[in-house]
């Protein structure tokens, strides 16, 4: 796993997002161990509290869980749940925004549907 960070959102949220990406990509299959907060902290020169906060976001959603004395593991069904979550985010982040912009540009519903079809064909 390779992480990169920007200033736009808090680092702990970016950590959670990038672990999610790795789970979705199959890099961390269900019931396998993910890097520890210490590993993430030392590797990416991040305060451990930040790394822990990112991990806890995923624990709260049941994506990963703690095995006592062993570390953090990917939960059963995590990838499927993440896919659902990302799908609903896709609607908010891309579909809604795209329609807003289309309205500003006076693109009709039919024109937008046509554009999407063209996008698939290209």
């Amino acid at each position: 796993m390779f992480m990169e960070f920007n200033n736009d959102t808090p680092i702990f949220m970016q950590i959670a997002d990038q672990i999610e990406d790795a789970i979705l990509a199959g890099l961390f299959p269900e019931e396998t161990q993910i890097p520890s907060t210490t590993e993430i902290s030392v590797n990416y020169k991040l305060n451990p509290a930040t790394a822990l906060k990112g991990m806890n976001l995923l624990v709260d959603q049941g994506i990963i869980y703690k095995k006592r004395g062993l570390g953090m593991f990917v939960a059963e069904g995590a990838a499927a749940r993440l896919k659902e979550k990302r799908k609903s985010q896709y609607f908010d982040n891309y579909v809604k925004r795209s329609i807003d912009e289309a309205k500003r540009l006076k693109i009709t519903q039919n024109e937008l549907i046509e554009m999407i079809q063209r996008g698939y064909e290209e």
């Binding site: 200033n7 736009d8 702990f12 210490t38 990416y44 020169k45 991040l46």
Partner: protein, 283 residues
């Protein structure tokens, strides 16, 4: 453990007020960034905590006891920017003497750090470059196993590789044996993600003392046509501006109004810690 508590400390050097009624708390087990421009009072504050200089008024408590009490400083170590070791002393003797004063000094760890940094312990203090003098002091600071470690400009003269190594070793050390680190540095960008809480000192006073993340997310920039930026900035807390031609960037405290910004054709972004620091501490 209660941390280091600085209570209403004032320090004058002649007519100059180096610290003005400073109060703050360094909690146990946290990494702090102590930021300020040259002459802001960072070193004065650190020297005052370690009882190397005396406040004109106010007091410093370490774990609930005055820093002037016997043994109060045994759990506290300060790495100074200046070199206070005898010039002719060899590094290995610096380690040996450090163990005399700090019995928990970990000699094996110190030697392994020296190896990793490529510091030869049979060298004398006076033979070291600025960077290696810093490295020698960093090694002692990481090896003493004190609960409170104050680092005044630890990365002075270190090349980029050694600076990265320093932050990695510091975080490893912190993970294995949690302690309070107070890091004073001018290289803010590199330290920004390592520190948990930030203390900004300006003209001898505490300007900010809060979680780093909190500070970063209470400020933002808005840029675009100067007239539109001015319009947007009305009734908002604008604390700094850049103007280039008819374009303007404003630094604002608070939550951005994305709707209004989009409506006015303005762009919102987040400043990094260094940019924010410069804006907050400019005269």
């Amino acid at each position: 453990m209660n941390g280091i508590q600085v209570k209403n400390c004032t320090k004058n050097y002649g007519d100059v007020r180096a610290l003005n009624d400073v109060s703050l708390l360094f909690e146990p087990g946290k990494i702090y960034g102590l930021l300020g421009r040259n002459g802001a009072g960072k070193t004065t504050l650190l020297n005052l905590i370690t009882n190397r200089i005396f406040a004109d008024s106010g007091e410093v408590m370490v774990d609930g006891r005055s820093n002037k009490a016997d043994n109060a400083l045994r759990n506290l170590y300060m790495m100074s920017e200046k070199n206070y070791y005898p010039e002719n002393m060899k590094i290995r003797d610096v380690f040996r003497w450090s163990k005399e004063f700090y019995p928990a000094f970990d000699m094996d760890y110190a030697n392994s750090l020296a190896d990793q940094f490529g510091l030869k312990t049979d060298k004398r203090i006076k033979a070291l470059s600025t960077g290696y003098a810093s490295i020698a002091k960093i090694i002692v600071a990481l090896s003493v196993n004190a609960d409170y470690v104050l680092l005044d400009e630890p990365v002075l003269g270190l090349d980029a590789n050694h600076r990265e190594m320093f932050y990695r070793l510091l975080l490893e050390n912190y993970s294995e044996r949690p302690k309070t680190f107070v890091i004073s540095t001018h290289l803010i960008e590199e330290a920004a993600n390592v520190i948990e809480d930030i203390v900004i000192i300006k003209n001898g006073q505490i300007l900010r003392s809060q979680p780093c993340e909190q500070l970063l997310y209470e400020a933002y920039t808005v840029s675009g046509l100067a007239t539109a930026v001015d319009e947007y900035g009305k009734n908002k807390h604008v604390f700094s501006e850049d103007i280039v031609g008819g374009l303007k960037s404003a630094y604002i405290m608070g939550t951005p109004d994305a709707e209004e910004a989009r409506h006015k054709g303005l762009e919102l972004s987040k400043p990094d810690l260094q940019k924010l620091f410069i804006r907050l501490t400019n005269e």
